[in-house]
């Protein structure tokens, strides 16, 4: 009997996510805000609260974070990360400073503790690589001259996450200062070691793990990732960071082959992760967060516009491209939810959940729309001469 209700419930959840993703695709939006709304509906106080699948969804959500960061790490090679760090560090720093300020100010105004404020700063700062790269390629802007600038901001943010997450995890655990410093140190050393190892011996690891058989490859990579994620979690540098490092270490053929076979798995568990985050938010508390979320959203739009402008100008791009870059960067998504999820798990500040949910829903919707309308809007005011045919 229990199994029957479990399947019915899980099936209904996943099916409704599928329908929502289709809807999102039809209107040209990311499915992430829809998943969050679905989570709200399935949570306590929602339309159809879940009973039997909650535990499964919680575990699935943790796997979702690990897979999100693993696939992200696989996208980049250590070489790319280092080149990017060398050439775009200054815009990256501007991005992080400008975009964490609204979160810090809001945290202070709301009277939150320093750790919750730091978490909110992370939520407001990090753009969504997933949403942004999808929108850029959907709009055929991969070849645009501002695109490398946008991508390098995203890469810098992802690298910064590898340092930020251990800091936050350590602080959330409320251990002694020494322990936190130690775990951050471990994370930094691990990051450096993985970079050096994958630069020097990346091909050795990849060759050792490579198999022309998809099944073997999938099981090996997944097993290795979960193992490393577990060890990382134990060392309090967070499971996600462990998975990200595994992704970076995998290069060449292995990376190329595993990306397509891991992506469907990632999609399932990431959707479950967003639902679980929504689940934890009581819908009625969302209403009271709408005001602060809207203000934060305004600040977040402005700060990303400035970041995009600066980054694109540095690449020698003219005004329309700078505006395209700024609007592209507005979308927040998976990482804001990952950060808020970590903070929520420790139960430090109950208002963070609804605020982050409202903020991400807003920004994940505004971002892609703003990206689309940027060009038609700027063309009204800015019309340089065309090159003759």
């Amino acid at each position: 009997m229990h199994t029957a209700t479990f399947f019915v419930e899980l099936g209904a959840v996943i099916l409704s996510l599928g329908v929502l993703a289709r809807l999102a695709g039809m209107v040209g939006l990311s499915p992430v805000p829809f998943y969050l709304l679905a989570g709200l509906a399935f949570g306590s106080g929602g339309l159809i609260p879940l009973v039997t699948t909650r535990d499964f969804i919680q575990t699935g959500a943790q796997i979702g974070v690990v897979l999100l960061l693993l696939v992200l790490g696989i996208e980049y090679s250590a070489q790319e990360l280092i080149t990017n760090l060398r050439t775009h560090a200054s815009t990256g720093v501007i991005d992080l400073v400008l975009n964490s300020v609204p979160g810090i100010v809001a945290g202070l105004l709301l009277g939150w503790g320093p750790v919750s404020t730091l978490a909110l700063a992370g939520v407001t700062a990090v753009s969504s690589s997933g949403i942004i790269s999808k929108v850029i390629s959907d709009l055929g802007r991969l070849g645009n001259r501002e695109t490398p600038a946008v991508l390098s901001v995203l890469v810098f943010e992802d690298l910064a996450m590898a340092i930020y997450l251990p800091v936050l995890t350590g602080l959330l655990a409320q251990k002694a200062l020494g322990t936190t410093v130690l775990s951050v140190g471990v994370a930094l050393v691990a990051l450096a070691v993985v970079m050096v190892l994958s630069l020097r011996f990346g091909s050795v690891l990849s060759r050792a793990i490579f198999s022309p058989n998809n099944e073997v490859l999938l099981l090996q990579v997944l097993g290795l990732t979960l193992l490393v994620a577990g060890v990382a979690e134990h060392l309090e540098i967070s499971a996600g960071v462990g998975a990200f490092l595994v992704g970076i270490a995998l290069s060449g053929r292995v990376a190329e082959r595993t990306r397509p076979i891991l992506t469907p798995l990632r999609d399932i568990f990431a959707a479950v992760f967003f639902v679980f985050f929504g689940l934890q938010t009581v819908p009625s508390s969302l209403v009271s967060s709408l005001g602060p979320a809207a203000l934060l959203g305004l600040a977040g739009v402005a700060s990303k516009l400035i970041t995009g402008w600066v980054a694109a100008r540095k690449a020698g791009v003219a005004v329309p491209g700078r505006i395209r870059a700024g609007t592209s960067l507005i979308a927040r998504g998976e990482f804001s939810v990952v950060i808020a999820g970590l903070a929520l798990g420790s139960g430090l500040e109950p208002r963070l959940g609804p605020l982050a949910t409202a903020y991400v829903i807003l920004m994940a919707v505004i971002g892609p729309i703003a990206t689309r309308v940027a060009d038609p809007l700027t063309r009204r005011f800015y019309r340089p001469k065309a090159v003759p045919r």
Partner: protein, 160 residues
């Protein structure tokens, strides 16, 4: 002509340049080996007007049509390529069946996957020979490919 090279993290590499008429064109070389042909906007030279995805075969065909020797790029790719890509040379023995035929007719690329990147004749190097180049006895042929494909190509080129 100034070709600008920009890395696209997570995607690949982009090359672009402005042609004499003022238009800007470019190519994205993806990590997967696929190419995208880029044509930039006439009004906003930073924006891409057209992005045409090309398969390996299509980009080879286009390159051949445009007459661009792709050798330089092939050799550059050697560096970041996973281990296993090699170059090797073989001398055509007198009486080999491929002697007197064009590169296209020798079917080296289609049958083995290896590519002929240069042919050395009487000490003269013919870099990136076109597919209608005729192979002769005692030519030294430089082949690039995986171990297996090179072995097959050598067999094909030396067969009577």
């Amino acid at each position: 002509m100034d070709i600008e090279e920009t890395p696209l993290p997570g995607i690949g590499l982009k090359h672009e340049f402005t042609v004499a008429s003022g238009r800007r064109i470019g190519v994205i070389s993806r990590q997967s080996g696929k190419r995208d042909l880029l044509i930039y906007d006439r009004v906003d030279p930073d924006a891409c007007q057209e992005e045409v995805p090309l398969t390996d075969e299509e980009s080879d065909a286009l390159a051949e049509l445009l007459g661009a020797p792709r050798i330089v790029e092939r050799i550059a790719r050697l560096h970041d390529q996973v281990t296993g890509l090699l170059t090797e040379s073989v001398t055509i023995p007198p009486g080999a069946s491929c002697s007197g035929r064009t590169i296209a007719d020798s079917l080296v690329r289609t049958r083995t996957g290896a590519s002929i990147v240069a042919i050395i004749r009487h000490g003269d190097m013919n870099l990136s020979p076109r597919s209608d180049f005729v192979i002769e006895d005692n030519d030294t042929v430089l082949i690039i490919g995986t171990r297996d494909s090179i072995d097959q190509a050598i067999q094909l080129l030396t067969a009577e």
